[in-house]
């Protein structure tokens, strides 16, 4: 019930991000979501893609340094308070959220958020019955 996320090391230099997206598009890798976290001199680009294996290979061949981690993709009803509910449930159960970012799909009435938490299994457990459901890799790709 988790999805794979590719993290890419990026020097903080003009053109580096453009190069990265160009490499992906040239190889027909479809990005579903992208988030950029920055430090003073470098950044980490986080990608959700359809073809994780294909994207990893393409990036490594182009000499990028990557890392793959498992994150949660949560389907959240598109109504006020819904996101708050998810965060509250996690907080009440002492599950630390490291970061999150949104991504879009064609599905109506719901929003999707990628959550990085310190304990995926526990998070999935406590979210049961909250109306917030984690989506798995296959379902995500079909959205």
């Amino acid at each position: 019930m988790t999805v794979k996320q590719i993290s890419v090391f990026l020097e903080n230099k003009p053109g580096r991000l453009a190069e990265l997206t160009e490499v992906l598009s040239r190889n027909n890798i479809d990005m579903r979501a992208l988030s950029l976290a920055e430090a003073a001199d470098f950044g980490i680009v986080r990608l959700i893609v359809d073809d994780v294996y294909g994207a990893s290979t393409v990036l490594k061949d182009a000499d990028y340094i990557i890392s793959i981690s498992r994150v949660l993709a949560l389907e959240i009803p598109d109504e006020p308070g819904a996101l708050g509910r998810a965060i509250t449930v996690l907080g009440e159960n002492d599950i630390n959220v490291e970061y999150m970012y949104a991504f879009t799909t064609r599905k109506k009435g719901v929003a999707f958020m990628i959550f990085r938490v310190e304990d995926n299994q526990r998070a999935i457990e406590v979210l049961k019955g909250s109306g917030i459901r984690p989506v798995c890799q296959e379902e995500l790709m079909s959205l």
Binding site: Q5, S7, F9, L10, E11, R16, A37, E38, A39, A40, D41, F42, I44, R46, D63, Y64, I65, I66, S67, S69, E98, R116
Partner: protein, 435 residues
């Protein structure tokens, strides 16, 4: 009117100097043969014994000592006196993790301080002067040397050490410093700071004694103009004693080597052949009066020319020009010796690839150093805080190794410039050596 600290030595005839050199060299060779097994072995391997060295003319027969030798026998391997006779160490960077440790008996300290005193008097210093010493104090020889020299001359000595510019300027104005001793880049920086604060008319400086790093004639004129002083060069290295191995006089055209203590030679760095005066080559020194740590034919890696032309100041000791470059890859950044191999050692210890590039520059008269390091899969993870912490850790490890702060920039693999397939390790944008 020219003044000398030890006129009977500084203006001695060439014959007298040669006589001292021969007598002292013979004694020193015996001393080293008896007390330094490592050098005795070198002599034996060269088929030499003390009797083969009968005068300074035989100096060229003796084996060299290099920085690598010092590293190999760290720390006591070149000590010629028992530790109980030693009263101090001073230290400087080694080529990798091992520092160079120089030992001194009280006698060695005295002769070193005499050399620095000669430099101060040559710059016009007397007991009436206030000597402002902004070289680093501690293990570094700069502060210790000029401090001792200043005492010998009888100046009021201000042991300022480096940094804290506000305090430097405050004391300079409040206590009327007349002679400034620091690195040339710090002198330029102080000059700017003084002008910025508008206190130039409160400064009583008349002379400066600048060294520990290379500086050009342009920089000299810049400092002289900005501070309204005469700026004198001084040269030395920890392995030989510290500053004061040679010093500039009123002629400001080369530095007199204290030949009664250190015999200079110029050699072809590739063949080791001794070159005549006037030719460019690597500077080598032999310590003929030091007791605890007397290095014989020590290769400095500085490229230089020696000249025995008569000097208008009246001193008869041979002159060396400002170093023209290095025969190795050592850099001097903020007055501190930096070897690329040290940086390599740190990177490998921390698990990075030994693929790096060092970029040195000078911004606002201050040296900057940046180490570009290739990111590796092992070092990378999704956590920004962990990767940032690793970068900080590397900065800390470099500071511990080098003694100065070096900025670290993590870069993509293959982004470090390669020229004809070989990575360019050092880019020095400062243009310090006049070609």
């Amino acid at each position: 009117m020219e003044r000398y600290y030890q006129p009977e030595i500084e203006c001695a005839s060439r014959e007298q100097i040669r006589k001292w050199q021969s007598e002292r060299l013979v004694k020193q060779v015996q001393n080293v043969w008896d007390n330094v097994p490592m050098y005795r072995k070198k002599m034996e391997e060269a088929g030499l014994e003390p009797g083969d060295i009968r005068s300074a003319d035989d100096l060229h027969k003796l084996p060299f000592v290099t920085k690598d030798d010092l590293r190999d026998v760290y720390p006591y391997g070149l000590l010629a006196r028992p530790l109980k006779d030693c009263v101090r160490i001073q230290s400087t960077s080694g080529t990798t993790g091992r520092r160079v440790v120089a030992f001194y008996t009280q006698h060695d300290i005295d002769l070193w301080e005499d050399c620095c005193a000669r430099a101060i008097v040559a710059a016009g210093g007397t007991e009436e002067d206030v000597c402002h010493v902004s070289y680093g104090y501690g293990l570094f020889t700069g502060g210790a040397g000029l401090n001792g020299g200043s005492h010998k001359v009888g100046c009021l000595t201000l042991p300022m050490s480096s940094g804290n510019t506000d305090r430097q300027i405050q004391f300079m104005t409040d206590l009327g410093s007349t002679i400034l001793c620091c690195t040339p880049s710090y002198a330029a920086y102080l000059a700017e700071s003084i002008n910025e604060r508008g206190v130039r008319d409160q400064i009583r400086l008349k002379a400066g004694i600048f060294g520990a790093e290379a500086w050009t004639e342009e920089m000299r004129h810049d400092i002289e103009e900005k501070l309204g002083i005469k700026a004198y060069d001084i040269y030395g290295l920890t392995e030989i004693s510290g500053p004061g191995v040679s010093f500039e006089c009123s002629a400001q055209s080369g530095m007199h080597v204290n030949e009664d203590h250190f015999i200079p030679e110029i050699i072809n760095p590739k063949t080791g052949e001794v070159l005549p005066y006037g030719e460019k080559g690597e500077l080598v020194f032999t310590c003929i009066t030091k007791e605890a740590f007397p290095l014989m034919r020590y290769r400095t890696r500085d490229i230089c020319i020696l000249t025995e032309e008569k000097c208008s100041c009246g001193r008869t000791h041979v002159k060396m020009c400002k170093p023209l470059g290095r025969s190795d890859d050592m850099l001097i950044v903020k007055g501190v010796n930096v070897f690329p191999s040290q940086i390599e050692t740190v990177l490998m210890n921390k698990g990075y690839a030994a693929n790096y590039q060092i970029i040195v520059d000078r911004v606002n008269n201050s040296d900057t150093i940046e180490v570009q390091v290739e990111m590796t899969p092992e070092m990378f993870s999704d956590s920004l805080s962990i990767v940032s912490a690793k970068e900080k850790e590397l900065v800390g490890a470099l500071k511990a190794m080098l003694g100065i702060y070096a900025k670290v920039k993590l870069v993509n693999p293959k982004s470090i410039t390669r020229s004809e397939g070989k990575a360019v390790r050092v880019i020095d944008k400062r243009n310090l050596y006049k070609q």
